[in-house]
């Protein structure tokens, strides 16, 4: 079991309030992802749940038990750190065994679980090595192995993949997702990588300056962002925001159009502009359009290739049912 609730939790460092009163519940078995710009308090929130930081006020409940004052070692949670945080003086085997040894699990059972974890994580050949003799990806696996063997009620991940190269990151992302499907244990995952958030999460929590801007499923956030911040934060390339006449015409202060919800034509369309940079990825093309009179740059994403280059004139037409409207307060207008 691992249902985690935060009730009016706040955190101040000195005089700086990093987390204003915050309420959040993560259901048992859920994969929750915290996203937000750097310094918004994602790690702090995770560390509050872990018990590595003390709450300034409010309560933290795990399975309806008040854990606010309980030390991290007694909360039954496992954490995977960005830096892996392996014990450099112990072999991989001893690293993985460590939490079990501390929990007083008998040797035979320890052995069984180590072997199972090592097999699942492709570490069998490295059990006798020290962390210093492993690659980044292998270290990350050891850190995950160390977390899973003790059967925690929830896993906490703080940007676990950000030190890995792109290819490895994709592989590990899938592995963690599979692990979650298999174990059905609560996982809380901090990242600033959109793709990780969108692909892995059951529930995304978007934070800004310690405030939750929106909580919802990835597609919820994508299709119905609650405000301009979430709209701009989720989706890549980011949404185009247009103010002025085009917005007022539609009864809004600002309208938002995603790059992928815009048609491009070289002959006709709603808005005219000139191509600044066209990025041809093969599968997709990103076109940065200037001089539309709408915004400094209007980004368009079309699938496949299109023969446009710098200086060409193009016409843009938004898909009418994909225009997001926001009021003067930044909130979504239905």
């Amino acid at each position: 079991m691992g249902r985690i609730s935060l009730e009016n939790v706040t955190k101040t460092f000195g005089t700086v309030e990093v987390i204003p009163p915050l309420n959040l519940t993560i259901e048992d078995g859920e994969f929750a992802v915290f996203v937000g710009p750097s310094g918004c308090g994602k790690s702090t929130l995770l560390r509050l749940i872990a018990g590595l930081e003390e709450t300034t006020s409010g309560r933290i409940l795990i399975d309806d038990q008040d854990m606010t004052e309980v030390p991290p070692s007694k909360r039954g949670l496992a954490m995977v750190f960005q830096s892996y945080a392996l014990y450099p003086h112990m072999t991989v085997r001893k690293n993985i065994a460590f939490p079990m040894r501390m929990a007083g699990i008998d040797e035979a059972e320890q052995e069984k679980r180590i072997n199972a974890a090592a097999a699942a994580l492709n570490l069998t050949d490295y059990l006798e090595r020290k962390p210093g003799q492993l690659s980044g990806g292998q270290r990350q696996r050891v850190a995950i192995g160390r977390a899973i063997v003790r059967d925690p009620s929830a896993f906490l991940f703080d940007e676990p993949l950000s030190n890995l190269d792109a290819a490895l990151r994709v592989g590990m992302r899938i592995e963690i997702s599979e692990m979650h499907n298999r174990m059905a244990t609560t996982m809380i995952y901090v990242t600033h990588d959109q793709v990780e958030a969108m692909t892995m999460a059951d529930k995304i929590v978007v934070l800004q300056a310690g405030v939750i801007e929106q909580v919802g499923s990835p597609l919820d956030l994508y299709h119905r962002p609650r405000n301009k911040f979430v709209a701009g934060f989720i989706g890549s390339p980011t949404m185009n925001f247009i103010t002025g006449e085009e917005a007022t015409k539609r009864g809004a202060d600002t309208i938002g159009i995603r790059p992928e919800h815009t048609e491009v034509s070289t002959t006709e369309g709603m808005w005219k502009g000139t191509v600044g940079v066209a990025e041809h990825l093969g599968s997709d093309t990103f076109i940065h359009v200037h001089d539309t009179g709408l915004a400094e740059t209007f980004t368009v994403r079309i699938s496949g290739d299109i023969a446009v280059r710098h200086g060409d004139t193009v016409y843009l037409t938004p898909q009418p049912d994909q225009i997001h409207k926001f009021g003067a307060d930044g909130l979504r207008i239905e």
Binding site: Y87, P99, R146
Partner: protein, 277 residues
């Protein structure tokens, strides 16, 4: 080009020569002391016997037979070992707390600890003497162990703090998440990781304890008297017995020089930090 070649050639010779000279300069008093310890007291002051003399072991025999060298040595070992162990026992948790759970007061506490070293020892000599006498602690092993511990504690905490600072905080936090309490964390993670630093701190603390002379001489008479006291006791009022004094001094610094020699690598490694990575 020629100039560059010449300078390198020059520095290739000059530096070693300079190093040797400095080395010899430092070594000379020790050499002199050892040499003198094999002379009779009479020979020791005669210039004509500067290097050529009839070596004798009398000073050493005299020292062990009449001055009870072994009791002083035993006291030195007991007080230094226990003081070092006690200092680490207190210093490791203290440094751990300050390195990994710093508060706003941590910097001040560290400074305050160091500031205690700035108090001239002589200023508290009389209070200390009276106090220990009236408490019945004068000339006891317990007192000397405590005094040695307390005077070394600030420097030990400082050194350990510097070593512990080198350990990534994440590793300590990972330990917490893995279910160890504070004591377990110190035992299972901190001490094994900072082993090099702790060993060199211990060694240095031991050397300081062994060489301490101000308090050990003044707060002891016989029971807890250390080798420092033995050396001091050979300073006779009617003149110095150089031969005897040298023998006692040689026997007093001998063990520590040997210990230092064997732990050289450890010391250097510890003192240059970065032993964790």
């Amino acid at each position: 080009m020629a100039i560059v070649a010449q300078t390198t050639k020059f520095s290739k010779i000059a530096w070693p020569v300079l190093a040797w000279m400095v080395g010899l300069l430092f070594f000379f008093p020790i050499f002199w002391m050892v040499l003198t310890s094999f002379k009779t007291d009479a020979d020791a002051v005669k210039p004509e016997y500067l290097f050529w003399f009839k070596p004798t072991l009398d000073n050493y025999l005299n020292m062990t037979e009449n001055y009870d060298y072994w009791r002083f040595a035993r006291n030195s070992v007991i007080t230094s070992v226990f003081a070092t162990v006690f200092t680490l026992f207190v210093g490791i948790p203290a440094a751990y707390a300050m390195a990994f759970n710093p508060s706003r007061a941590t910097k001040d506490v560290l400074m305050w600890m160091l500031s205690t070293k700035m108090l001239p020892a002589a200023a508290v000599l009389y209070p200390m003497t009276f106090l220990t006498k009236s408490l019945g602690l004068f000339d006891t092993h317990f007192l000397i162990i405590m005094v040695l511990s307390l005077i070394n504690l600030p420097i030990v905490v400082w050194m350990l703090f510097t070593y512990f600072k080198e350990i990534p905080k994440d590793i300590i936090e990972a330990g917490k998440m893995d279910g160890v309490d504070t004591l377990g964390e110190i035992k299972e993670i901190l001490v094994p990781l900072a082993w090099g630093g702790i060993a060199s701190t211990a060694l240095l603390c031991f050397i300081f304890c062994w060489n301490e002379a101000y308090w050990t001489v003044r707060l002891t008479t016989t029971e807890a008297a250390t080798l420092s006291k033995l050396i001091e006791g050979n300073r006779a009022p009617e003149g110095l017995f150089f031969g005897r004094l040298s023998a006692v001094s040689t026997a007093a610094v001998g063990p520590i020089v040997v210990l230092g020699w064997f732990c050289q690598k450890q010391l250097v490694q510890g003192l240059t930090f970065g032993a964790v990575k």
